[in-house]
Amino acid sequence: MTTEPEPRFTRRRLLRNGAAGSVLLAAGPLLATAPARAAARLASAHAAGVPKKGGTLTFARSVAPTQLDPANSIIAGDVYTLDKIMEPLYLTSPAGQLIPWLAESHTTSADGLTWTFNLRPGVKFSDGTPLTPADVVFSIKREAANTNGPLSFLDAAIKTIKASGPNKVVFGLSAPWAPFLSDISVFANAIIPANFGGKSEKAFFAKPIGTGPFVLDSFTPSSNLTLKPNPHYWQVGKPYVDAVQINYVSADNQRVLQIQSGEAEIIDQVPPANVSALKRASGVKVELYPAWEVDLLVFNEKLPQFADRHVRRAITYAINRPALVSATSFGTAKPGGSFVPPSLEYYDPNTPVLAYSLANAKAELAKSKYPHGFHTKLLISGGVQKWSEFAAIIQQSLAPLNIKVTIDSPDNAAFHTQFESFNYDMFIDYAINDISDVDEMASFELNYKDGGSSSYWSSYNNPAVTALVNKAEAEFDTTKRAALYAQIQALVAEDAPFVPLDYPPYIYATSTKVNGFAVNPGGAYRLENVWLS
């Protein structure tokens, strides 16, 4: 029993979803009431057949939870645990669309500066107290004020937050900000009771109270955790399972064994090499979910050889990305083109990619200041087979240009420190979008001055690109916005500040007994729709 990814997420479907999502965004005041139906549709779409109640869902997960404060979380083990307990106003669906969640709808003023959210009636926290605008004001003010938090930059546009009447919250922004709805949907903006329900912050997050489908039952940090249903959950009748047992299983091989033996019903991070064997295994199904993720080969433009545009273009031409992907991903990933992954809205399939051509590569290098090649180093995070394979292939690919590559693979923390202090020549890493708006990736990777990472530590600085990124942030018309991002993608492909190597999916294996499980392109999965047959 296997399911191919394609029917779930064809490009046409993506564009249609993308378009529908953006109409809602742009024409907020007109269309903002449709959402409850959308949420219901989402719920029913997942679970074919009649959901059955009961059972414990055992999830063997590659990442361990450490703590559960949304404002101070960034590690996957924390994020994908706390989001079962605490929920934001909007949420990204498995199809990558923004859907109303604790807010039933929203409106945007004509100048794009005032956003009013109407809270869903009847929502209660897991302790039985009703959700009020004061809770929303408290939660998002807390996150926005936590300027040293991992994702508080997403709330930078917020100037004021006010409760209005019994069920409205009004946000005043400092400038028109098209990505705002995406920003508000991030897990860091999850809603908790005002003033931590009267508890101390520490006591609250040891046993957090939220509006989510589950509550924390037991928790051993870095080991395992049990979730129990929230008896006051606003989606009446859900969740279906009696308990979720999440076990930390760091070894890839052990997770694969646990799904084969039936000890786990869901595993994450299936190694691509195991996909075909698991697809053949009885009682197991494998799912590939498109991700807002792209693996990048980044050039350090602080070095003269990589400040030379011809060198970057030559290297890009020299890497055969379809071959690289087929040699390493066992058919799971897609070869890279644009720096925007295809699963993200505003991806342009017509981006002029510098496709593999050794002749072009040699011609570009001949035009550079380094026609006879040079020695360079490639930095990767050690101990990850995929990166070693990528590095070896790139090393071979650049040999015909007489560019000699030495591979350096320290452990992950040392790797981070090295490239973030610009102590590298080239490095490979994955870039992800946490929210459904491409702006996060665009500004982080391309806005040298204000993006927060000197263009993903490449020091790439093209004022024309930065201007377009800023323009797109304030553009509410989706057609115009799409045109801006198409321009950006074309300019970046030509400048080649990094080589988008591939678009890897999220790979999960589940027992065939598991129904209603789906992962959104941000990597989040809801468990209230899951039932065991």
Partner: protein, 297 residues
């Protein structure tokens, strides 16, 4: 020794590149946010003053608060210690249960086929990596035969014991070859002793001679070797826990090193060092009890 381990851990942690604040805050961390966390954790002080503070904390048995988990290191170690202790205990038990019969067999059939086989196997065992052996065991006993779980901690007392059988066997194999060889040599030496001839002359059965007179006298060097190798066993639990998804101190240590959780790494290495010292002390005491010729002091 414990002080040496503590100092070495501190210096190594600070010598390798990698920023705990960056690992906690993610790639969007601003320099200001990293600086704020470093200040809160005292990492902005000079290395010397950090070391003085660390030693001061150790002396007063304060292991501090984990950077990543935000709770006390002692309570986290407490959560994970039992798992590792149980694994080491079961592995030691298996090691003894496997070593004694094999060594006895080999010593009593010196240079014959059984002896050659045991010696050959122990050479093979020495060269076999623990993770590979663990996977082979899982493949046979868990996946094919379905007798035991493939991994995880299991639930309930029996589930828990069951879940430790394959990991215990895997970990024990890290030291069994050494122990078998040591006990075999010890037994061969004792077999030539006068009191063995006397025992035989008194008409005692061969098995009784081997197990009571020979093994008991040959066991002391092996026991010392076992004590020393439990340190090695404790070290190998890092790998064995990973292979079998047991979340003990070893796996906590690995993830804490990856995230540069200094207090956590320092706390765990300290606990491991102390337990190795205690185990060595215990084996010395036991050896003294078994052999009145050994005196403590």
């Amino acid at each position: 020794m414990v002080i040496g381990v503590a100092a070495a851990t501190f210096l190594l942690l600070h010598a390798v590149p990698g920023s705990p604040a960056r690992e906690v805050l993610g790639e969007h961390a601003t320099p200001a946010a990293v600086a704020a966390l470093n200040h809160r954790w005292g990492l902005d002080r000079s290395l010397g003053s950090q070391f003085v503070r660390y030693v001061g904390d150790l002396v007063t048995l304060r292991l501090g608060v984990s950077f990543v988990y935000g709770i006390s290191v002692i309570s986290l170690i407490g959560d994970h210690l039992a798992e590792t202790a149980a694994l080491v205990g079961i592995a030691t038990l298996f090691a003894v249960l496997i070593t004694v019969p094999l060594a006895t067999l080999a010593a009593s059939r010196r240079d014959r086929l059984a002896d050659q086989a045991v010696r050959g196997l122990s050479v093979l065992g020495l060269g076999m990596p623990a993770f590979w052996f663990g996977i082979v065991l899982i493949e046979i006993f868990a996946l094919r035969l379905g007798l035991l779980p493939v991994g995880g901690a299991g639930s309930g007392l029996w589930g828990h014991i069951e879940s430790l059988i394959l990991p215990g066997l895997t970990a024990s194999f890290a030291i069994v070859p050494l122990l078998v060889r040591s006990l075999r040599v010890g037994m061969l030496e004792v077999l030539g002793a006068d009191f063995v001839a006397a025992a035989r002359a008194n008409g005692l059965g061969e098995l009784r001679v081997l197990l009571w007179h020979v093994a008991r006298n040959a066991v002391i060097p092996t026991l010392t070797l076992l004590g020393l190798n439990i340190a090695y066993l404790v070290g190998s639990t890092v790998i064995v826990e990973n292979v079998f998804a047991l979340n003990g101190l070893g796996s906590l240590l690995l993830s804490s090193i990856s995230s540069r959780d200094f207090p956590m790494v320092q706390g765990i290495t300290l606990v491991l060092a102390i337990s190795v010292v205690l185990i060595n002390l215990a084996t010395d005491l036991l050896a003294a009890r078994l052999d009145p010729r050994i005196r403590l002091g």
